[in-house]
Symmetry: C2
Subunit: 318 residues, 2 copies
């Protein structure tokens, strides 16, 4: 028998369940609709039936535990709390609910923390004790690792780096505050920057004919590649904002590396090089040259599952 765990990524639309071994190989994966069940108990029943099918299909694997990455997950309490994008409102004791039915050890954390653990166990942060993982999606998520351990803080919600202030009294953020870095640096943030440039600049752009809701970070990248100056400016500004903010993160925890993950990284060095430039320029003297800023080594398609499985593999080691 070979040891394996279930790594589960709970998204607003889909929940993906992977059977993952200790080397980070995803032996098999299945998915169910997260938003099919308003009732959490029905959702968990369906989840359990997937567990059974995977166990039946892979009898050579002995299941050791369940790791879950979910929005607004509280590691300490095993709960999902007030997740804006999920149908289940209030505080959902999802760990307890699943454990009661499966009797497997279970651990839960938010998606960005899971990504950090995936990076540590299977990605670029292997052997790195102090690093920060930044996920650039709709928002800016983060997982902070200090002395080899994920930072949870006194509430379990530490590491909300997307909500550090970039510009005082700046853009309205979904969290209710103003000027949070994620309103500038994220797939959504770069679109807002582009909209701002449409207003402040008179340069032509192939994207001026698009409705503002049709503008995406991917389209901005493609336009930039084709020489669209306005789109290039949006990328340059986003890279600068991120580089400056990373310098603040470094003043806080002095990590050895920062890993960037998410769609914006598809732009590769076109994005990374100016991020690194702005970062080194903005760093305090004492930190210059001490931090490696790089793309996540995790594959975009499997990162969430690997991260969730890394969480439970690490728990089982304790």
């Amino acid at each position: 028998m070979k040891a394996a765990v279930f790594g589960i990524d709970v998204g607003a639309t889909n929940t993906v369940i992977g059977l993952v071994d200790k080397e980070g190989r995803i032996v098999s994966q299945k998915s169910i609709k997260t938003d099919k069940h308003q009732d959490i108990t029905l959702y968990i029943e369906e989840l359990l039936s997937v567990f059974k099918r995977l166990e039946a299909e892979y009898p050579k694997y002995s299941l050791k535990g369940i790791g879950m990455g979910a929005p607004n997950a509280n590691y300490y309490k095993g709960t999902i709390e007030h997740a804006a994008n999920l149908l289940w409102k209030g505080i959902i004791p999802i760990s307890t609910l699943i454990h009661e039915k499966s009797s497997l050890p279970i651990a839960i954390t938010n998606d960005a923390n899971a990504a950090a653990l995936g990076e540590q166990l299977f990605g670029g942060a292997q052997g790195v004790d102090d690093f920060i993982e930044i996920t650039l999606g709709t928002g800016l998520g983060s997982g902070v690792v200090i002395n080899g351990k994920l930072l949870y803080g006194s509430t379990g919600f530490a590491g909300e780096l997307g909500h550090l202030n970039l510009i005082r009294n700046g853009r309205v953020c979904g969290c209710g505050k103003k000027g949070c870095v994620e309103t500038y640096v994220s797939a959504t943030g770069i679109c807002r920057t582009f909209l701002e440039l449409l207003a402040t600049e008179t340069l032509p752009s192939s994207l001026r004919s698009l409705g503002s809701s049709e503008i995406t970070s991917k389209k901005i990248y493609e336009a930039a590649q084709e020489g669209d100056t306005l789109a290039q400016k949006a990328f340059a500004l986003t890279a600068r904002y991120l580089g400056e903010m990373l310098a603040d993160y470094v003043s806080f925890t002095s990590p050895k590396a920062i890993f960037l993950f998410g769609g914006l990284l598809n732009a590769g060095e076109f994005f990374l090089t100016p991020v690194r430039e702005a970062f080194e320029e903005s760093c305090m003297q004492v930190f210059k040259g001490t931090v490696s800023v790089q793309s996540s080594h995790l594959d975009a398609a499997s990162a969430a599952i690997l991260g969730a499985s890394a969480l439970i593999w690490k728990e089982l080691e304790k």
Copy 2:
């Protein structure tokens, strides 16, 4: 024989050496001039002669170690590195130099980290595993404690919270960057805010007749107490800046408490109440009500010595 340590506070002008017992009692303290010796070996000779005098005067105490708080101190390396306010330039291996002569265990850290350890061992943070100590002096120093341990990061210089950005492209900072929070929130920062108000407001103020270099945080406080509206505005702005920044710190490490130390706290609730208001207002929903913001419980006169002694007491426990 009763166990004791030397707690040493290295300031630009004076070095204070305390004989401190395990309960945080300063049995005796002496001081020497830091800036008398350009040559570090002569400074250490004088330091050693003070050790001998204290040992001779208090024969009932058995010396266990030396804790030192110094500007730009590197805990990992036992060095003082490029300290702008000290005569010794470059990298000074002060721990090694002292240890060679005294053969006592020695540990060194910067002043704000020492204050945090003092708070943890002898002050308000006893039994608190996650907290941040903020020292408001010429600058804004900080010590960050996570899971009971001081945060040093990969370089040993983590926790430079005074150099997180408050206002993008804001005031020039001594560190070479712009808009660092310490240029707004510190004894110096409030004076700069007051100068700014002298320019932007037309309100009368008893301090308008002073040369700008004569303005001090103490005079601003006294004027505010006497009803000077401009001085009150400077305090209100400083409190707001600090409260907003604390909210960012909390998004990062989610501490249970924040302790504020330094001259500005002499203003008591006149300063603390608006800090707390701005802080709670600026906190992310998930952190509201989870953090206690309070004055340090350490006595201003002895905090540095106690902090330095706490450092070595904690090392000896390891």
